[in-house]
Symmetry: C2
Subunit: 231 residues, 2 copies
DNA sequence: TCAAAAGTGTTGCGCCTACACCCATGA
DNA sequence: TCATGGGTGTAGGCGCAACACTTTTGA
């Protein structure tokens, strides 16, 4: 059980790592994790081990990444790891143990075993899901402006993102809802920004693939239909 | 290690199952698989175990599905299974051992443990990937007409598919190439159909998601650009 | 000449990008 | 009033679904 726990720290995401105090790979940085217990499934196990490093309430989403089982992925004894992706919103700044720290994914220290490659797999998964799911709910604070959200997406994806189009894509999909409030402008002035929230806090596919859908269905209903037409 | 090996048998896909001769769950049907060996990774292991049931050369694609680890997914001792999806083209009709048979996924017999649920996961994965990858190469024979391919897709997806649009989608993506040959018409006559092949026999994402791409890139290059403009 | 099956032309729609333009604030 | 940042309007393009129409065969 290993977890790639990511949190967006602009301009680049960071991953939670702890420094090994013992051989093998003493001094190198490793992903949090541990052994599977006798009466838990892998999801419960990874949550239990994560609780030693961060406040679990701050981990907004967890999902399986895959199994890493190359017999030579580390020194003997042979270990098989089921890797997970965990996401922490930016407004939670967990206190972590002394041996544990956030590391920018573009400046990873020397990692233990194959944990560098697993981290890259986790980041790839996050980037893919940002495009076709509402997974941003697990990165963003409870309420935010579109500019703030754009910066989060840009940091996660590694390229610039247009606030204009981000807002339209996410509202069209029913992912974002306005709170009705506005944020105070910065010291340089400017129009106050509208404040939004994610409409749901569970993972949902918002962009089902266009091709090869069943005939006669115009497009999947990606968000609840309005109760009254015109309301 | 367990494998959901699927093969399209119109009008519905079938999955490879073997009948348990011993308790627990004697007489029920189970997915092929077995224990991980000391010096192999899970991919190698699932291939090794599959070789006991089918000719491995006929399994055109294998990928990880996920880990199933509910402590109560079966009677003690507790077992953790890494599940895989395997695909066999229709032109390969493997001979299988006496205890082993193909079963239509809409008429599964009583399955052992949670193997029914795992089978459904495998089918869901196949259906999703048919929409945005070239995974059809692992279902179709080496050469085929568009009508034959449409029937394969329709069986796999569980709904009707338009041959017209299937051809256009797959050729636009560079997935299908014409061999230049034509198939003989049926006894009722009709225009002879052009014969196609999949351009590649490795998995490739052909429909990267439209939203939130880097700015300035019109659309991902999904197939090799023509060597000379206009040719 | 007709039925059957394959393949192409064309229209319409939805989603996305890009960019021009308008709005609301602090100085 | 101007600079600054937020938000909307709109045009263009692309991919896909649907369906009419043409092509090529056997009887």
């Amino acid at each position: 059980m290993l977890a790639v726990v990511l949190r967006i720290t602009e301009p680049v995401p960071s991953v939670l790592l702890w420094q090994r105090a013992r051989d093998p790979h003493r001094g190198r940085w490793a992903l949090p994790g541990g052994r599977l217990g006798p009466d838990e499934d892998v999801e419960a196990s990874v949550r239990r081990h994560l609780a030693e490093k961060v406040d679990l309430a701050e981990v907004a989403h967890v999902e399986q990444l895959g199994v890493f089982s190359d017999p030579h992925r580390g020194p003997p004894p042979r270990r098989i790891a089921t890797a997970f992706l965990g996401l922490v919103p930016t407004d939670a700044d967990p206190t972590v143990p002394d041996d544990t720290a956030w590391h920018r994914v573009d400046r990873l220290p020397e990692t233990a075993f194959d944990h560098g490659a697993i981290t890259r797999d986790g980041l790839d998964r996050l980037r893919a899901k940002l495009s076709y799911t509402n997974i941003g709910f697990a990165l963003a604070p409870d309420a935010f402006t579109v500019s703030e959200l754009r910066d989060l997406y840009a940091a996660a994806l590694g390229h610039r993102v247009s606030a204009t189009n981000l807002q339209r894509v996410l509202t069209r999909r029913g992912v974002l809802v306005p709170t009705g409030e506005t944020a105070a402008p910065g010291p340089a002035g400017g129009r106050p920004a509208a404040v939004f929230r994610f409409s749901e806090h569970g993972l949902r596919v918002t962009d089902p693939f266009a091709a090869l859908r069943p005939p006669g269905e115009p497009a999947a209903e990606t968000h609840p239909a309005p109760t009254r037409p015109g309301s």
